[in-house]
Amino acid sequence: MTTAHTPAGPHASLDDPGVRIEDILRESIVEAVPVGRTERQAEFYTLRDGEMLLNMGPHHPATHGVLRVVLKIDGERVVDIDPVLGYLHRGVEKLCENADYHQAICYTDPLEYISSLFCEWAPVMAFEKLLDVQVPRRAEYIRVMATELNRIASHVLTMGFFALDLGGITPVLYGFIERDEIMEMLASLTGQKLLFNYMRIGGVNGDLNHDFLSRLGDWMSHAARQIEANAGLMNENEILVRRARGLGVLDGDTCLRMAVTGPNIRASGLPFDVRRSHPYSIFPELDFDIPTRNEGDCLARYLLRVDEVKQSLRIIDQCLHQMPDGPVMAKLPRLVRPRPGRAFAAVEGPRGMYAAYVISDGTDQPFRMRIHDPSFVHLQLVTLLTPGNLVADTMAIMASLDPVMGGVDK
């Protein structure tokens, strides 16, 4: 019997019953420390005494998508952090360059799947600037209304996920109830539930309809109360407040240095909002405030979103009252060929400034197209804010910055 168990060749065969695959695999487990390719990586992967690397993601419940974060921890304390991107890269910008202008819109949709309408709006506005198209006023009002609805849908979800990452399981489900109502509403307006593909060059695809308006009216009657009540579950909770207050403080200088936009910069006291700073569409005619907070910590970033939801409700209300009559699409040929040139357009999304930069070479396809996504910018802050805090705080900081991986990896 002993001869049967001796490996026949220089290598043990897996067909040999005397060889167990576990033994072979166990030998192959080694302490694999990645070799740093850059100075920063070399420094990161050099462990001092008592430190250990903890690999979070790309499939971790708290990384909101396929983000991989390598934590260097000393006990529970995070010494350093290294986000690793690229697990959701789809090459959207390159795909847009291979499609004509109309087709490119729908590629930008899934960039930020939480708030798709904004990802359409920025490139569409850039195309309109290239083509020098005048968008009908009714279309602008519909666009503003739909995007503000989408902003609310995104914010309620963000607030819920912030609470979920701090361990509360209920707020995210309340948030999803609101979001589901808004998504159904937008589905009756745009025809799709997640990736709306609603914006068109020179207008929108389809006018307001009765179904949408009746759903919107139903929802508006209780939305403010409901969202306020849902937020009240968490934002006065002592456990959450004690955890989030003073955590991950982001000051104004850092915000400006790191090109932070959106709620994150407004929570640090700087009232930067593209809708007011670089007005577009019909926002100059609308009456709304830019809420700011001065603390700059996770709690401020969380509470600021509650305030923004109220302002969005105000905007929707005004849009409904001031909605003009008229067409919703400008007259445009089926195949558009803008003159050679370049255009930049930015919109204020729920996470910050979405922008598109398009270069035309006179053909029916964009020559180059770049998309600026706020999530990518904000993810850099994780490296800045996290070291020195605990492992549990990493999730809180990441959730309060609210990056969406679809936008980060493009």
Binding site: S188, Q192, V241
Partner: protein, 234 residues
């Protein structure tokens, strides 16, 4: 935040307790179907008018506008409306070259669709007549068809299935079960050619030798490979 410690927690607990008795948001799906908005375009389907006729005119505009080209249709003409279908996957190959040209500026040849190419069905019809279209003689039919074409083209298999009444799955199963049948053109039918394929340097050497000796060109290697016996390709 209020001054009394714990009041926030108590208020949260009160909210969840109230929600315990409130009506629920769950939709019991198979019994209760959610209302789909009239504008919903989440589904590819052909619409009928009030007379029960298909509204689709087979104008291909939807397929042309589709950015990711997921719409593909095989239409006959606008009068034969009932023949409009958006059917099997192989019709995708019909417009494949054109689409590839338009999108990337170069054709994308795909060997996977070569086997669906049409062949001259004359030889296989003769074989079928000789066997009286009897599916019981399937082995013989297939052997003679292979003798006629050099391999078993998919079009011939389809024709055999159609003419004998045997299921295509049976015909294909028979053809793929026996060792002697080939479903692709023989790569090594001509030993010399195969050798030339494997050693291109030798082939170029031979041609250079021929040129130096003033001999005529050898037979072009391409003919036998694409199936000379199989007749012209469509």
């Amino acid at each position: 935040m209020s001054t009394v410690p714990g009041s926030g927690i108590v208020r949260g607990m009160a909210l969840t307790f109230r929600r315990f008795f409130e009506p629920k948001a769950t939709v019991r799906y198979p019994e209760v179907r959610p209302e789909i908005a009239p504008r919903n375009r989440g589904r590819l389907q052909l619409l009928h008018d009030e007379n029960g006729h298909l509204k689709c005119e087979t104008c291909f505009q939807c397929a042309q506008a589709c950015p990711i080209e997921c719409i593909d249709m095989g239409g006959v003409d606008t009068r034969g409306r009932y023949n409009v279908h958006w059917g099997p996957a192989e019709t995708y190959g019909e417009r494949r070259e054109e689409a590839a040209l338009r999108r990337s500026g170069r054709p994308v040849p795909d060997a996977a669709f070569a086997s669906f190419a049409e062949v001259d069905l004359g030889p296989v019809s003769a074989v079928l007549v000789a066997h009286d279209h009897d599916p019981a003689h399937m082995l013989g039919i297939l052997e003679e068809t292979q003798a006629a074409y050099g391999y078993l083209p998919v079009a011939a298999l389809r024709h055999i299935s159609f003419a004998t009444g045997a299921w295509y799955a049976m015909v294909y199963g028979t053809a793929s079960y026996y060792r002697q049948f080939r479903l692709a053109p023989p790569a090594d039918g001509d030993p010399a050619l195969a050798a030339a394929d494997r050693r291109p340097s030798e082939a170029s050497f031979l041609s250079a030798l021929d040129a130096a000796l003033g001999m005529g060109p050898r037979p072009a290697p391409g003919n036998a490979r694409t199936g000379d016996a199989a007749g012209p390709r469509a």
